[in-house]
Subunit: 216 residues, 2 copies
Amino acid sequence: MSARSASTRKNDPERTKADILDVATEEFAANGLTGGRVDAIAEKTRTSKRMIYYYFGSKEALYLAVLERSYRAIRSLEADLKLSDLPADEALRVLVSTTFDHDEAHPDFIRLVSVENINNAVHMQRSEEIRDLNVSIINTLDDIIARGVKEGVFQRRPEALDVHMLISAFCFFRVSNRHTFGTIFRLDLSEPALMSRHRQMIADAVLSYLMTPEGK
Amino acid sequence: MSARSASTRKNDPERTKADILDVATEEFAANGLTGGRVDAIAEKTRTSKRMIYYYFGSKEALYLAVLERSYRAIRSLEADLKLSDLPADEALRVLVSTTFDHDEAHPDFIRLVSVENINNAVHMQRSEEIRDLNVSIINTLDDIIARGVKEGVFQRRPEALDVHMLISAFCFFRVSNRHTFGTIFRLDLSEPALMSRHRQMIADAVLSYLMTPEGK
DNA sequence: CTTGACATACTCACCGGTTCGTACATTTTG
DNA sequence: CAAAATGTACGAACCGGTGAGTATGTCAAG
């Protein structure tokens, strides 16, 4: 009965909240939790600092909201990779490339995770949502490895988690440590040539590892 | 004049400076640059805040001094690895293990590097000393790879820098992302069993990569 | 349809603790 | 005594957070 139709309204809380989250993501990714300034966020927003507190309550709560939204975004990515049709080795190459490209494409997320680690992941631990992250990628990987072993392509059967870590570490590091690594070795890690070379390498390395029998 | 009887002051500038640097390293590693508090450092020190400014001038300068001292420490580590006597594959295993153990043993250094990356490595770039870091590890690695290829043990000749990155990334990530990774997968990455498993894996992975011919 | 009560969305000005940094006095060393 | 080293107390800006009131939209009663 009650026609709760979506009429055009001047008050637009959803957009306001989303606006705040967008700006806050940038700010916290750029400056960390303690380095991020609420006033700075407020300024870059369509609204005021008071609104940030109205909707999020505190700086930390805002930070947590930012973190949760960021993790929500990658969760969806991990979900729909249809790799079961491909042969194990090809599937693994796709998985590695996807991880690599994702990290390259989302430096803000990488930085937020770094920030969270500096903070000992305390906010993450407090968040049901993130703690219960569906770690479907482990199952996917485990399936690929099992298939590869059965098909005889893979000669080794490590923990899926360890392989995931091998892949993640490289892809993550390339982005997270871009600045220090780049400074020491006088490199620009965002250069396309280097990027594709590294993308190739991490896939080759993971595959070589799996295809080499245990006794080396 | 003053009734200050028993405690006669003893000037010890070197020890004072070192004391400040020790405490500051902990503080900045734990809380970042913006999160680190000068007053907190002063309190944990034998001396006062006044002394921090007397010797280091500013919070940022103190941070830079901390960073430089930390890098100086690892530089010495990289320098004296005598691996030329060992066969290429064994030498590489030693190199990987050394890197792994170093990162595990110096979480504060890892955190400082993370912090510096959040800061886009601006302090590092300003520091002649760090910028001119002798990256001898690259030469060491390059030598090992060349020998391995000549001996026929290695079937592939990648850039030493890329291999260094593959090794570094894994060892670094294990420490830097200990908290988030541990939270998501409900693991304690500092557990000895996991540690040695991972130590084994990264060495195996790097060797597998080098020993597998290019065409996969 | 009008009105007015009520809830949600939003504005403005401001506070008080925190925190980097310093002025100034004092002591130690050479 | 001069210079280096140190202690004490405080200033001033910064910054997270809030009090109090205003606008906007909803809905039901008249």
